[in-house]
Subunit: 422 residues, 2 copies
């Protein structure tokens, strides 16, 4: 059941708020031992107090968001805040809209690459992706309809792809990050997971303080989508390649004009490198105190990027930022040729690497640096029948347009059906 | 004594670290009853443990920065954090460079307009400016050589001007804000106060993890400075007008080419309005939880901007951001005609309004939205002989060039000499 469906049933009085919350708690108690999506949970007897757009809707919050009612661990064993003074801005806005915070979801260590305990609900031996691991897995597993994450490289898009859910990253800077632990201020972006685009639109309305109306069906005639792979020479698993081809065929059959002759490969490829440099430089500054206090406690992966960041010179960083700005203008004309871009969400299906790796964010890096809104739609499958998401990318500030088309495309193509790993 | 002078004396063994710290503590104990620059102070027996560029240099930290060793109050009576889990990034970097954190300096309420207790050291009946009130006053009064602040509208430039100190705001995004309370993510910028440009350069080196070398004398032949007032129709006190004219004459006499025929007034004026809109919208999101919890506790000024922010539609905000981006490109050619821009730092001298108002940030708004590095130099005076700063503005990423010229210009023009109010 999606949040919008639950809200309809609550409005019709065929479901009470407490019944709905109890059903989510039941699901968590049934499955949490296997999926391990949560760092901490609300007390089962807790009730929602707010009223509004999300009244009685349980949400999961990635454990790098400050919360007044839950501890925050940032995916670490070595630091902890029992209760924050304030809720992070998105948490406050959701609660103010009536949402019930179900708990904090597992993050990788400071939202970087070192995995937490969470397993992929579709194959418990596989990673759910990261860094928003618990949020994606909890939504995939039906524990909550909605969860918040963040993306710095590919931390919304990749777990959404691996876990067969929708992952939406709005335009950079639109949703306040106040109270969320920073990793890279140029890149960090709030994003959300759900099982329907209407639920994504519902969260988006609550977080942008706008009205919500269920998304309307759209005519696809005239819609132009450009197929693109960034980086152009990135290793893409053959089955993901196949899934991309199938998606293009299915879109064409729906009347969408597909073009794959887009240029700007050189600029876009370069953006992938620049994203990596900016992320390393800024992470070392954002986590300076953690590094100075806990270099010996942290994972090798985290220490490595922080030390790489400290080794980048200021001139290199300045150069990267200026080059990224120039490239941003140079690639903007892409959206004169097409309405949306289409790319695989990840290079592969979720690897058999739970506890070791969360996969590769390669195909998200450029879009994150460009600050463009992206959505991963759970419409395809690859190796071993595991889910594969397809990513749509829109011009900046066209978040609503992206959600509108995504709703229509998902309705036509259908969510990929695969049984959970029980 | 500046930090660089103190470091030289400590290197020469004519001053010990503990003697230097004790002298700063003495000054504070002598004057704090009048100036009231501090929220809390280190214990007098505390010693500096770090080594590096800033070894034994005491610094003041605006009370919106997270600190592990001091409480944080954000300029409020209604919320408090006893000890943060981590130091804010700039605090960690200064401590890692050996700096001694002397304490937390008074901020206006959440760095907005509602004043704290601090008085202007040059006239105790006047405001020190805000929001970085305590940092500017503590440096002006000789309590510490260096203090950190932030600027969202004019919170570095204006208090620097009112307090006869140097206030430097680096290029937007250069210094990490991780662990600093957000007010407006598009605008918030770390800045620093000192009594010499070399001290500013010293802090800048520590915060950017670069080498420090004392700034060299420069030849001014060929330097082109454009005089500009943004907004073009802003009320400027006649005595500040006079100070600007004198500055232009003095610069001409030093061989600087001054031009006042710069265009782009319409675009720059519009940026002032857009800054105000972006700031209000974003403040309501950044302080969402504070508003939901403490609307009745907060000042009318703060509540008013948050409610104004919530009333701005998403389309207006999107529109403002897009327009600001377009204007940013349109005004960039200004720096093809000149090397630096010159503007008054504030519309007036510090008003007789201690405890009521912190003055008007009007002449800083556009530069903050453009993300340009700015410095306020304490070289002039106005009404009642109170200090007036002159603001130099450089292209983005030209922070070092700005510091280099500022050092030379301050050396030639001299810091405005006025006795403190004893």
């Amino acid at each position: 059941m999606t949040a919008v469906e639950a809200l309809q049933r609550m409005a019709n009085k065929t479901l009470s708020g407490s019944e709905y919350l109890a059903s989510c708690f039941d699901r968590i108690h049934q499955r949490e031992g296997k999926v391990q999506a949560w760092e901490c949970l609300a007390a089962p007897q807790a009730v929602s107090h707010g009223t509004g757009l999300l009244q009685n809707i349980p949400v999961g919050i990635k454990d790098i968001y400050d919360t007044r009612d839950f501890p925050t661990r940032w995916g670490t064993e070595y630091i902890r805040c029992d209760r924050s003074v304030s809720d992070a801005s998105p948490v406050a806005l959701l609660k103010n809209a009536g949402a019930f915070v179900m708990g904090k979801t597992v993050s990788t260590e400071f939202a970087y690459f070192s995995p937490g305990k969470t397993r992929n609900p579709y194959d418990l031996d596989r990673t759910p992706g990261g860094s928003s691991s618990g949020s994606a897995a909890a939504v995939a597993d039906g524990m909550v309809p909605i969860a918040l994450g963040t993306q710095t490289a590919g931390s919304i898009t990749r777990p959404a792809s691996y876990c067969n859910v929708i992952g939406f990253k709005p335009t950079y800077g639109l949703i306040s990050r106040a109270g969320i632990k920073s990793f890279s201020e140029t890149l960090d972006t709030v994003g959300y997971f759900a099982r329907s685009v209407n639920d994504i639109a519902l969260v988006h309305a609550a977080l942008t303080c706008t009205q919500f109306a269920p998304l309307a069906r759209l005519d696809l005639a005239g819609l132009k989508i450009g197929v693109i792979r960034v980086p152009s020479d990135g290793d893409l698993d053959r089955d993901v390649e196949g899934a991309l081809d199938r998606t293009c065929q299915r879109l064409s059959a729906e009347g969408v004009a597909i073009t794959s002759s887009l240029d700007h490969a050189r600029e876009l490829d370069r953006l992938v490198e620049l994203q990596s440099l900016v992320m390393a430089f800024e992470s070392s500054r954002c986590l300076a105190d953690v590094y100075f206090q806990h270099a010996d406690d942290m994972s090798d992966k985290l220490r490595e990027i922080l030390e790489r960041g400290f080794a980048i010179t200021l001139d290199e960083y300045y150069g990267a930022r200026q080059e990224a700005e120039r490239l941003q203008s140079r690639v903007a004309p892409l959206f004169k040729e097409v309405d949306l871009l289409l790319s695989p969400s990840a290079v592969n299906v979720a690897p058999l690497a739970s506890g070791i790796s969360t996969g590769d964010p390669l195909y998200s890096r450029a879009w994150t640096l460009l600050g463009l809104p992206t959505i991963s739609l759970p419409i395809e499958s690859g190796h071993h029948g595991m889910p594969v998401g397809m990513q749509l990318i829109a011009p900046r500030y066209r978040d609503s347009v992206l959600l509108g088309y995504s709703h229509e495309l998902l309705a036509r193509l259908g969510r990929y059906a695969r049984a959970l790993d029980e």
